[in-house]
């Protein structure tokens, strides 16, 4: 790293979403030709920081500099014009138009002469870019709808490379890419390094970071912890810095053996197949926490949705404790099954409605008086009872959920299913995007549920969490269950990872 002026420098950045403080006094500088890693637990503020640098969010306080000059992009488009481009995990292409149109969306003016756009030149330029990025098998004129998820992500990458970016931000994209896509990305990062450009690589996969990055900055609870140089980057040290306390015993569960309240299966799944899932069968016993681990698109999320009835099952059955089968979400809910989706704000809760409306929604039937009337008093009681038990931080029950922090929203979803008296909980990434403090509260709640004889299926991409909390772990790869582990002190991440990849 030359001592020349940094490409991007960020000084004492503060950012908070209503009550949670996402970033506190974070400073960072990335120098030309440097691949800077950024790591931290979910909710440590790494995505918020990258969003601020790439212009998607505005910092509350603090300043940013690009090559020394003040830099405050109004939106991501302005940022990418200035050479700061970013790719994210969520899908960012428009399916009804062609690949070329996607690549140059928002930037068509360069191909226009007195208003007329030369579409041949545009698709030629797009094809050139695709070849440069190394994805020449994708045709520029083809509509994006026909492409696979991976190709669409590569189109996004090509879009980011339309002008060689000064700073290229990769925000947890690799988890979504299979191997071929990842190699292309790594190749591009090397090319950028050679050209003297810089990369900000965000991931929570420690081994990938060590392999790709020159230096790594670690964030925790929205605070800057440390920047490790070439030699110091070592997995265990990084994890400790990430989590803050050595992996304290009581962070996850402190009992170390597989304890089930009773052997009676609360949920039985028999040779279920749908989409990429092939012949999934397993049983969930009373009071057991069953962990589903695997890479992000190996099918663990689809299992949760299929059980709950959100996906159309091709074959196979899901039966609850009392033997009846469940097909649709409403049947599952009647049979006391609760589901918490991965994308919380859009699927697992109604963001613009207030707390009470969200909590009581699935259990309206139980509150009925005389067959149809739902007295508001009963609603209020149910909502305040469960919000109290999970001690949700809120102004009052009529507060809109949009104003709550990530942790509180998760508690509301849990309160919703507890209000419905759910026996089986399917939790898909329960602690995703939640800051450390509240994460621990979620784990304590899970332990309480287990002690009451409730059964939990926990789907998570964070191995430490899966190992720490589950009685039994099923490892999945490409839609199949490949290995089963029981809880035990000798269980480590490495022993599981080899089955995942």
């Amino acid at each position: 790293m030359g001592a020349s002026t940094p490409v991007v420098e960020v000084k004492n950045i503060y950012k908070s979403f209503s009550s949670t403080r996402a970033l506190q006094d974070v400073s960072l500088a990335v120098y030309p030709g440097e691949v800077r890693g950024l790591i931290g637990e979910n909710g440590s503020g790494k995505s918020t920081l990258s969003a601020i640098i790439s212009g998607n969010l505005k910092a509350d306080e603090g300043s940013m500099f690009l090559f020394g000059e003040p830099y405050a992009p109004a939106n991501s488009f302005e940022a990418s014009e200035k050479g700061v481009s970013m790719i994210v995990q969520e899908q960012g292409t428009i399916s009804t138009v062609s690949v070329a149109a996607n690549i140059f969306a928002g930037r068509e003016s360069q191909f226009c002469k007195l208003g007329i756009l030369n579409s041949k030149k545009l698709s030629a330029e797009a094809q050139k870019l695709l070849d440069k990025v190394g994805v020449s098998d994708i045709k520029a004129d083809a509509p994006v709808a026909g492409l696979s998820f991976e190709d669409r992500k590569l189109v996004e990458i090509a879009r980011a490379f339309y002008k060689l970016p000064e700073l290229f931000i990769v925000d947890e994209t690799t988890t979504a890419l299979p191997q071929k896509g990842r190699n292309i990305l790594y190749g591009l990062i090397k090319m950028l390094k050679k050209e003297g450009k810089s990369v900000l690589f965000i991931s929570h996969d420690i081994d990938e970071l060590i392999e790709v990055c020159d230096t790594v900055t670690i964030l925790r609870d929205g605070r800057f912890i440390a920047t490790l140089e070439e030699g110091e980057m070592e997995a265990k040290k990084m994890k400790e810095l990430m989590v803050g306390r050595e992996v304290a015993d009581n962070f996850y569960r402190n009992d170390s053996n597989c304890t089930c309240v009773a052997d009676k299966p609360m949920l039985t799944v028999k040779d279920l197949s749908c989409g990429i899932l092939k012949d999934i069968s397993f049983e969930l016993k009373t009071g057991e926490i069953l962990g589903l681990a695997g890479l992000s698109d190996c099918g663990i999320h689809e299992v949760g949705k299929a059980i709950f009835g959100l996906l159309h099952r091709e074959s196979g059955t899901v039966t609850v404790g009392d033997g009846t089968q469940i097909h649709t979400p409403s049947e599952a809910i009647k049979k006391r099954v609760g589901f918490m989706s991965k994308n919380r704000d859009t699927e697992s809760m109604l963001i613009s409605m207030n707390i009470q409306e969200n909590v009581v929604l699935p259990s309206l039937d139980h509150l009925k008086v005389a067959g149809f009337f739902i007295p508001p008093k009963k609603e209020k009681e149910l909502a305040s009872e469960w919000c109290g038990k999970l001690n949700v931080k809120m102004r009052d029950l009529k507060q809109s959920c949009a104003e709550l922090s990530g942790g509180n929203k998760q508690k509301i979803v849990l309160a919703k299913w507890l209000g419905n008296g759910s026996e089986v909980f399917i939790l898909d990434c329960p602690t995703r995007g939640i800051d450390i403090g509240v994460k621990e509260a979620i784990y304590r709640i899970m332990e309480d549920l287990k002690s009451q004889g409730k059964s939990i299926i926990m789907i998570s991409e964070e191995l430490p969490e899966v190992i720490g909390m589950s009685d039994r772990i099923l490892v999945m790869k490409d839609g199949r269950i490949v290995k089963e582990f029981d809880r035990g002190p000798e269980l480590t991440e490495n022993s599981i990872i080899q089955y995942m990849i």
Partner: protein, 324 residues
């Protein structure tokens, strides 16, 4: 499970401002109604007489029935374009039933026909997955053509004996029962609550146990049923059925509900009171303007400008919400 109570955060001044803004936006329709009543009382002098209030009640009655049901569909973010044509068609069927079968038969016939049309609308959108706008538009064309072919001459009369069915007391009692049923159904039962969730996000509603297809089907069935009831009362009020019956009801419902302060894209802030209030405002407006002498050309111009003003004042402007 530790039973500590929920932590109540203190009211920050930003919350207070938000609460004030929210209270203001709910108060605007009430304020609007009050201003109109006072204005017309000053202009005409005999606006607030008992007979005029009775006239307003009579005129607004069928619009109230239709718009209260319209709120159910609008809560899911859709619109029912076939509402007016359905009311007209049920009016014709009721009149034919009254003349050829028995006067009493007109009540069940109107309700059943309206319900069937509502269910066909619901079926087309849920099972056949047709876009709601096109399905209702075609249903409107079909019903208008059917009404016109069923009626010979300018209109068909209902039996004379039914002339005295429609008394003020009966309408008032039916009105209050209907309002009570609709308010309870919208605010205090699963139906209303779950329809509101469909306005926010169908996927999130589905994951909380709402049977999306069934609820949308029910919403259109309710609107169809209400159109049937409105059709019956149209028959009593106009003494029979004409090709023009119910012609403007669809747009009147949409205008009334928006005047009443309902958010048109449905969702969390939809409220049934918007239908009651909106009907009152629209009827008072029509009645008052004619009495004050603006019944000619300016009537529709004033209505359009006021409509624009009410929308401008009441909707909250969130830049990143996508408005279609």
């Amino acid at each position: 499970m530790s039973t500590n109570t929920a932590v109540r955060t203190k009211k920050s001044d930003e919350d207070k401002k938000l609460a004030f803004k929210k209270a203001l936006s709910t108060a605007i329709p009430y304020l609007g109604l009050l201003i109109l009543i006072v204005l017309f009382q000053i202009l005409t002098g005999n606006f607030l007489t008992a007979s005029n209030l009775e006239a307003i009640f009579d005129q607004g009655f069928t619009l109230l029935i239709a718009s209260m049901a319209g709120v159910f569909v609008m809560a899911t973010g859709n619109l029912d374009f076939s509402l007016g044509a359905n009311a007209g068609f049920c009016c014709v069927c009721a009149t034919l039933a009254a003349t050829y079968i028995h006067p009493i038969a007109s009540i069940p016939v109107a309700i059943i026909v309206g319900l069937i049309v509502g269910m066909v609308n619901g079926f087309a959108q849920t099972v056949l997955r047709l876009p709601s706008f096109i399905a209702c538009l075609c249903m409107m064309f079909i019903l208008t053509a059917a009404t016109q072919s069923l009626i010979t001459g300018s209109s068909i009369m209902m039996p004379v004996s039914m002339m005295f069915w429609e008394t003020f007391a009966r309408k008032l009692i039916f009105g209050i029962i209907y309002m009570a049923v609709m308010i309870v159904m919208f605010k205090y039962t699963r139906v209303g609550k779950e329809l509101k969730t469909l306005g926010v996000s169908p996927e999130a509603a589905r994951q909380s146990g709402v049977n999306v297809k069934k609820r949308i089907f029910l919403a259109y069935a309710i609107t169809g049923l209400a159109a049937g009831i409105a059709g019956f009362w149209f028959m009593l009020r106009t003494g029979g059925a004409a090709t023009t019956t119910g012609q403007t009801t669809t747009s009147d419902v949409i205008i009334a509900v928006v005047f009443g302060g309902m958010s048109v894209s449905g969702g969390a802030s939809s409220k049934i009171s918007a239908a009651i209030l909106g009907t009152l405002i629209v009827t008072v407006l029509n009645n008052g303007m004619v009495m004050a002498g603006f019944g000619g050309d300016p009537q529709q111009l004033v209505k359009g400008l006021l409509f624009l003003l009410v929308i401008a004042v009441s909707t909250k402007r969130d830049p990143n919400v996508i408005i279609k």
